[in-house]
């Protein structure tokens, strides 16, 4: 790489290749009072990218509720933190790695996992679980099968090795994701609140330490790469993907947590070197604390020769952390990391002057106000336009013509999105750390907290099809669906993290979708009292001008007050009464059934009522707390029939069910519904408790048939055979 002079950059407009507009370049000149040199231009390009600066999404993200009694840390740090009592807190965050996964799926997914784990332990928390939310094109496409195989291998390769169980997530398929797969990784950690950290570099004279892996040329411009659309020249971007080493990260994690635990006085602040690597971590740490910083780039551990300052600052080499160390504690840090055979090198110091200064080979190579890099990126109010397909959407619900409901159910259960994901989970270590009480496959994963009676429930949700048909209601549903999963598992929702996977914000229709989706999510988060504590945005999920469905991924964690309240979706005992909570209507637009029967989704999304949702969730919470619920399952894609089948599959039990509705409604995706089972002896009392909100619809049977009688036909499903089909349907 050849360094152009400041004037050459101006005339060649190199900054445009790095994602800066002419107006932004002009603004930089005003902020620093001269033309930026090559290194400085690179620093600004990275720090002012959407990925780092949220310059397009910031006005929308402001809507999110971010505070609450339990919230110890909201957005703005490595991860959010929620108090769960007894001196403990849960720490979580999700991050997208869509672009790297599209280009190099194994490493893209692996480093997505590695990056989010660093965010969690940078807060002082022990990572305890991973979840992954994935969206791909249809499996009929050979390239999609390749992407899926490699992505799963990358997730497992990293998580299994570092020893953090992968306990949940989602995997859905639609053509809309064929060119832009979605890979969102969420990590959950457990924090002893006395160990809580921040990414801050405060106190003039304190030391800046670089710890972990050496810096190479991998991932340079990754943040910029993630903030642009794909086009057919994408192959040229391969160098923007990083390479992961989970063994190195295990050592780094253990060393950082030991340092925080054993030498709290040494650590002023700590942050992951993630997107935009050394520049973002160091500049953010200084700016947040209100200090400046001087770095000597010659000291940065390097694994390639001849790297120029631009490359060192923007490399996204993995498994690196930046620590601000109290001025007299450097030796303590070096000694501890040496025991883990890791580099720990002082590369700079905190300064009272609020300048960000870089030196290399004895020369000053950058000198800019630290706040200009971190806080002065422009914020855009992008124009919005209602997408054409929403203006012309048919307000009527799709009316499926069903003559053989059993055949439809059998087919639905084998749709890749609904099929069992066991084949995927089998390649992840779901149990390491021996806390996993409910493994993947139920509504939410549940992990116990050692030493007491509490447990944590966790899930990821978000149906892009609903958002495509109505981004605001779809956004509400994404949050509520996550909460429903937590509630069905016996938990009380605490808060969410999110990844906002959307098209280009510079396209008014995409930006409308983002604005409406965040509005809907905010309303749901407020209604459920689940603040947004962390997250990221992944815009520019477009290829050759076509965007993915608007796809917010909601990661939610809930607290289960006592191990005895942990509830799963499997029917437990023959004779238990089956109750349906919530109302079923002819809600088919955007459904899995519409997709399967027509090949597409269309029309206006069905109605959704937040108040009903909350009321139904409260009913289920109350029932579980009363100790009478043997199983609980949230109804989602595929509707009541699919939900009943899934509950039968766990222990291979059957059910006889009778509902006063046409057979097609068995597949309606009306929201806010659950199926609960209670022991027969409690059924009458339970009916009294629920009133109109729930109806008994049947009984669990030892005979392994699911029999559902409707107004139009009676459906019979052989549970044993269809379970095998459901488990074998997902192949790649």
């Amino acid at each position: 790489m050849i360094e152009q002079t400041a004037t050459a950059i101006k005339s060649s407009r190199l900054y445009q290749q790095w994602g800066l507009t002419s107006a932004e370049y002009q603004r930089i000149q005003e902020l620093i009072g001269r033309l930026p040199n090559f290194t400085e231009t690179g620093l600004f390009a990275a720090m002012w990218s959407e990925h780092c600066a949220y310059k397009n999404s910031k006005p929308l993200l402001k809507q999110f509720p971010t505070s609450g009694q339990r919230i110890l840390q909201g957005p703005g740090e490595g991860a959010g933190i929620i108090d769960i009592g007894d001196g403990q807190a849960v720490v979580f965050k999700a991050e997208s790695h869509n672009h790297p996964t599209a280009v190099e799926p194994y490493q893209g997914a692996a480093t997505g996992v590695g990056g989010i784990i660093r965010d969690i332990f940078s807060m002082g928390a022990q990572p305890i679980a991973m979840l992954d939310s994935l969206r791909f094109g249809e499996l009929t496409d050979a390239h999609t099968r390749f992407l899926l195989k490699e992505t799963i291998a990358g997730i497992g390769g990293y998580g299994n090795c570092i020893g953090i169980p992968t306990v949940g997530g989602e995997l859905a398929f639609d053509d809309a994701y064929a060119a832009n797969p979605v890979m969102n990784a969420m990590c959950v950690g457990l924090l002893d609140t006395t160990m809580q950290q921040k990414g801050q570099a405060a106190g003039a004279g304190n030391l800046i330490y670089y710890v972990g892996a050496k810096t190479g040329r991998d991932g340079i411009q990754g943040a910029i790469f993630a903030s642009a659309e794909f086009n057919d020249d994408v192959e040229a971007d391969r160098s923007a993907v990083q390479v992961g080493d989970p063994f190195m990260e295990k050592q780094l994690m253990d060393a950082c947590l030991e340092l925080i635990r054993e030498h709290p006085e040494a650590v002023v602040g700590i942050q992951d070197m993630g997107a935009a690597g050394l520049v973002s971590s160091s500049a953010e740490m200084g700016a947040k604390a209100g200090y400046g910083m001087t770095l000597n780039l010659d000291a940065v551990p390097q694994r390639e020769s001849g790297m120029i300052p631009y490359e060192l600052m923007l490399s996204e080499s993995q498994e690196r952390m930046l620590i601000c160390v109290a001025k007299d504690q450097g030796a303590v840090v070096e000694k501890l990391f040496a025991r883990y055979e890791l580099d720990a090198v002082q590369i700079g110091a905190v300064t009272a002057a609020k300048q960000y200064q870089l030196y290399a080979h004895g020369e000053k190579v950058a000198d800019v106000p630290i706040k200009a890099l971190v806080d002065e990126a422009p914020v855009y109010q992008r124009p919005q336009r209602i997408p054409a397909h929403l203006l012309t959407a048919d307000p009527q619900q799709y009316q499926p013509q069903i003559t053989d409901a059993a055949a439809v159910l059998t087919d639905l259960l084998q749709q890749p999105t609904l099929a069992s994901k066991q084949a995927v989970y089998r390649s992840y270590d779901t149990q390491v750390k021996t806390n996993t009480v409910v493994a993947p496959g139920s509504d939410a994963a549940v992990l116990r907290i050692r030493g007491g009676r509490k447990a944590l429930a966790m899930t990821t949700d978000g149906n892009g099809r609903y958002l495509y048909l109505n981004p605001e209601i779809g956004g509400q549903i994404a949050v509520c669906e996550a909460a429903r999963n937590i509630v069905a598992s016996g938990g009380v929702p605490l808060g969410i993290t999110d990844c906002l996977n959307f098209g280009s914000p510079e396209e008014p229709e995409s930006f409308y979708e983002l604005a409406q989706a965040t509005k809907g999510m905010s309303a749901a988060c407020k209604a459920l009292a689940t603040p947004v504590i962390s997250g990221n945005v992944s815009l520019y999920n477009e290829s050759n001008g076509t965007a993915i469905y608007p796809t917010p991924m909601v990661g939610m964690v809930g607290l289960i007050a006592d191990l005895a309240l942990i509830t799963t979706q499997d029917f437990k005992h023959a004779g238990d009464a089956i109750f349906l909570v919530g109302q079923t209507r002819a809600d088919f637009n955007g459904s899995e059934l519409q997709k399967m029967l027509t090949g597409n989704i269309s029309g206006a999304l069905f109605d959704f009522d937040l108040a009903t949702e909350i009321s139904n969730q409260q009913l289920v919470q109350q029932a579980i707390r009363a100790g009478i619920v043997s199983s609980a399952h949230d109804l989602a894609e595929g509707g009541l029939a699919v939900g009943l089948a899934e509950s039968c599959f766990g222990r291979q039990l059957g059910a006889t069910v009778e509902v006063a509705m046409p057979a097609s409604w068995l597949f309606a995706e009306s929201q806010s519904r659950f199926i609960l089972t209670v022991p027969a002896a409690q059924a009458a009392a339970f009916s009294q408790m629920t009133g109109e909100q729930a109806q008994q619809i049947g009984t669990v049977t030892a005979a392994t048939d699911l029999v559902i009688k409707t107004n139009t036909e009676t459906l019979t499903l052989d549970v044993v055979t269809s379970k095998q089909q459901w488990e074998g349907a997902l192949a790649w």
Partner: protein, 226 residues
């Protein structure tokens, strides 16, 4: 009694073993660094699962050179109980303390699932708490668990009753469905399934308790003479 759980760089089931012994059996279990030279203070030595040294090259291939392995060899030679689980089993074969090798799974995929096992020999120091031919279900979680040895070694394993556990539904391609073996003297056991993940009903199975119960029984019998 004090149990040594060896911590290699990259071990990740070390804490789980400590928790199983401490919470499940009220035993003192100590994490012992891979650079330690002396294990004479301990009643038994446990090599945990994980990815020692990242499993780079091959599972256990680098860990066998770790400084502590000299002490592990001495401990085993003196008749002390040594158990290697998952990556620990791989290390024991690489170190020559157990015969055979562990290859990549036949499917080439990592497999995490419950596995039904038969306790083939319930007369060992690690299996005496089980019934003869008892069926137990333990979790497996490995990418390189496909046990291989040549025909002569297999004949020897059978003749000397060194096969402790077999899979009922072979998940990984292991020769003779082997899930766990002992050395000829019977004081060293390697197994791919994870007994430490199956000591609490809350987590789905208590079938792994027998391994630790057997070891405790063996050690108690040893200590008792007077």
């Amino acid at each position: 009694m004090k149990f040594a759980v060896i911590q290699f760089p990259g071990s990740n089931c070390d804490q789980d073993l400590v928790a199983a012994l401490r919470d499940g059996f009220q035993q003192q279990a100590v994490l012992v660094d891979y650079r330690t030279a002396d294990l004479t203070d301990y009643a038994a030595v446990l090599l945990p699962g994980g990815f020692s040294y990242g499993d780079y090259l091959r599972g256990g291939a680098i860990a066998r050179f770790a400084p502590i392995m000299t002490a592990v060899r001495d401990f085993a030679a003196a008749g002390g109980l040594v158990i290697g689980i998952c990556n620990g089993f791989q290390i024991l074969t690489e170190a020559g303390l157990l015969p055979g090798v562990l290859q990549q799974n036949r499917s080439a995929n990592f497999i995490c699932q419950p596995a039904a096992l038969t306790v083939v020999n319930n007369q060992t120091s690690f299996t005496k708490a089980y019934q003869p031919q008892q069926t137990i279900t333990l979790p497996i979680a490995h990418g390189e668990g496909n046990y291989y040895c040549d025909a002569a070694t297999l004949a020897e394993l059978k003749a000397q009753r060194q096969i402790a556990f077999t899979y009922q539904d072979n998940p990984n391609g292991s020769v003779a469905d082997i899930a766990g073996i002992t050395n000829r003297a019977g004081n060293v056991l390697g197994m791919m399934p994870h007994p430490e993940r199956a000591v609490e009903a809350l987590l789905g199975s208590e079938d792994g308790r027998g391994v630790f119960q057997s070891m405790l029984q063996t050690l108690t019998e040893k200590v008792v003479p007077a």
